[in-house]
């Protein structure tokens, strides 16, 4: 019998996916329902917001943006 699971499909780069997987592992698998392929994850709907928040924090810590000087 066919089943339909409600959830959120997250598509991202493999690099971002790696970070997401790490966040998930650190928190005891409370975000991800299934790891679909290299660029796709299936995530619990209620957790998407907090996952995004965590990703943002992680990115801010790790990735340094090279800001442009805006000079004329």
């Amino acid at each position: 019998m066919v089943k339909a699971l409600k959830g959120v499909l997250v598509q991202c780069d493999p690099s971002i996916k790696a970070i997401l997987l790490k966040i998930d592992a650190d928190s005891g698998n409370e975000y991800i329902i299934e790891d679909l392929d290299e660029e796709t994850l299936f995530v619990k709907e209620s957790k998407v917001a907090s996952l995004k928040e965590k990703l943002k924090v992680t990115l801010r810590e790790t990735v340094r943006e090279n800001t442009d000087s805006d000079s004329e």
Binding site: M1, V2, A4, G7, V8, L9, L36, V48, L59
Partner: protein, 476 residues
């Protein structure tokens, strides 16, 4: 959510509200010919309109097989889309006859009202009861435009005022409007503009009006004990009125009379005085049920319309005022603080002259805007919509390098996309999987699939569900 953004002409927000209404309420709403006409014009995808018109004077139900034969095989996705919107709005339903082939019929109330609208028959007064003011002091169009502009800009000033220096003190909006803006989450408790507010600011005027009205529609029933059907049908009626013509308030319902004050605050209608039972729709009202392209194209027409009419007297050039160069420099010929502060949302302004400002689109300024919830497309469409006539002569209107770069700046921040929906798993047979996937793909619901895992992801499930039950029925 996605589906509504696909519908070509529809106003997504209003459509969502309508789709959320129960069938009985819609039925009640459709009794007004003006509403039926407005829903037809504004809410339906193009193909749905065609189907409705074909069925309007059809004596018998429209056989599903005939409909399939009428629509080209390569337009299945549009067809499904159209049928979905039509059924969700209770305009069309499947024929009730149990035996016999599947067929569609139009909702009785809707069909009757639309026919009345087209022929101008019936006893309804849904296109407004015109009335001449006592003493013959006719209100001219300019007064109406001035009123509309003043009121609407005040609201915008109020929102922008929280961020920009030098704009405060110019807005005098009523407390009701203030609380409405707060309820709509356009400003927060302290009156500071929110992300939703920024998005709101960059929309076209028409979309702004709708956003505000929808907040009104959602909140007013609870707070003010108003009937939402009355509110909606009044809004739709306003859209079919004639600019410059006075209308009597005599035959309005109590809810609608109550609305007059609020709509007056927004600048959507104008009342010369509270005592006379007469109101004038402004341009904001009469263009409510026109779609975006209508507003655009009319810019070239000789009559001043909507955007042009509104921007007309505010000191700026009546049409566009922005020039963008390939080197990201931006020149805006405007004196309006409102326009300047909107520009300041995503531009680094450098110089202010009496009749113009100059600035630059920079990575920082654009990304700051994006961080605030404004999208690249909004920026681009704002620039394009307000481009100086000189810019309009070139094609494309904006320099492609600038457009691309704004998009790139946005993508830089995009790390992922999320789509909420349903994962379909555990298909019994390969054939079942394949058929369903193909169907999902043609109707444009498919987001992701994996043939190996035999599962796929769709963003809506209703159509898939009905497809699968039909398929099972066909097999049985």
């Amino acid at each position: 959510m996605n589906a509504s953004s696909d519908t070509m002409t529809a106003n997504p927000q209003a459509l969502e509200v309508l789709q959320g209404f129960p069938g009985t309420k819609l039925e009640q709403l459709y009794r007004q010919p003006s509403t039926a006409l407005a829903v037809f014009r504004r809410m339906l995808p193009h193909l749905a309109k065609t189907i409705v018109m074909a069925m309007l004077y059809m004596p018998n139900p429209f056989l599903a097989s005939d409909l399939d034969a009428w629509i080209r095989p390569d337009a299945v996705a549009e067809k499904e889309q159209a049928l979905l919107v039509l059924t969700s709005l209770h305009i069309m339903s499947t024929s009730l006859q149990a035996q016999g082939p599947r067929a569609y019929i139009l909702g009785k109330a809707f069909a009757k009202s639309l026919r009345q609208a087209l022929t101008g028959s019936g006893e309804h007064k849904s296109f407004g009861v015109p009335c001449r003011p006592p003493g013959n002091d006719v209100v001219d169009v300019k007064t109406l435009d001035d009123h509309a502009r003043r009121q609407w800009e005040d609201i915008l000033y109020y929102m922008v005022g929280s961020t920009t220096v030098g704009v405060e003190g110019q807005s005098h909006i009523s407390d009701a409007t203030k609380s409405l803006l707060e309820l709509g989450n356009f400003v927060d408790k302290r009156g500071r503009i929110t992300q939703t507010g920024f998005t709101f600011l960059l929309q076209e005027v028409n979309a702004q009006v709708w956003s505000l009205l929808i907040v009104y529609l959602n909140r007013a029933p609870e707070l003010l004990k108003m009937d939402s059907v009355d509110i909606l049908s009044f809004i739709f009626m306003l859209g079919s009125l004639e600019l410059g013509q006075g209308y009597s308030t005599a035959n309005l319902s109590s809810t609608q009379k109550q609305m007059l004050d609020d709509l007056g605050d927004f600048g959507i209608i104008y009342r010369p005085s509270l005592k006379t039972p007469i109101f004038y729709p402004t341009r904001l009202a009469t263009t409510l049920t026109s779609d975006a392209s209508a507003l655009h194209s009319s810019a070239a027409a000789p009559t001043p319309t909507f955007d042009t009419g509104l921007a007309g007297g505010s000191g700026a050039a009546s049409k566009g005022y922005i020039i963008v160069e390939t080197n990201y420099r931006l020149y805006a010929y405007t004196e309006s603080m409102l326009q300047i502060s909107v520009l300041a949302l995503f531009t680094r302004l450098t110089m202010l002259f009496p009749n113009m400002v100059t600035g630059r689109l920079t990575k920082t300024s654009v990304q700051r805007a994006i961080a605030q919830g404004i999208t690249a497309d909004q920026i681009i469409s704002y620039l394009a919509a307000h481009a100086h006539p000189q810019m309009l002569k070139s094609t494309p209107v904006l320099p492609p390098t600038v457009v691309d770069q704004i998009r790139l700046w946005q993508i830089e921040g995009d790390r992922m996309t999320t789509t909420s929906g349903y994962m379909m798993i555990e298909f019994a047979t390969e054939a079942e999987y394949r058929d369903t996937v193909e169907y999902a793909e043609t109707v444009g619901l498919l987001v992701w699939k994996s043939d190996a895992k035999r599962c796929f992801f769709v963003n809506r499930i209703e159509q898939i569900r009905s497809f699968m039950s039909n398929r099972r029925a066909a097999r049985a």
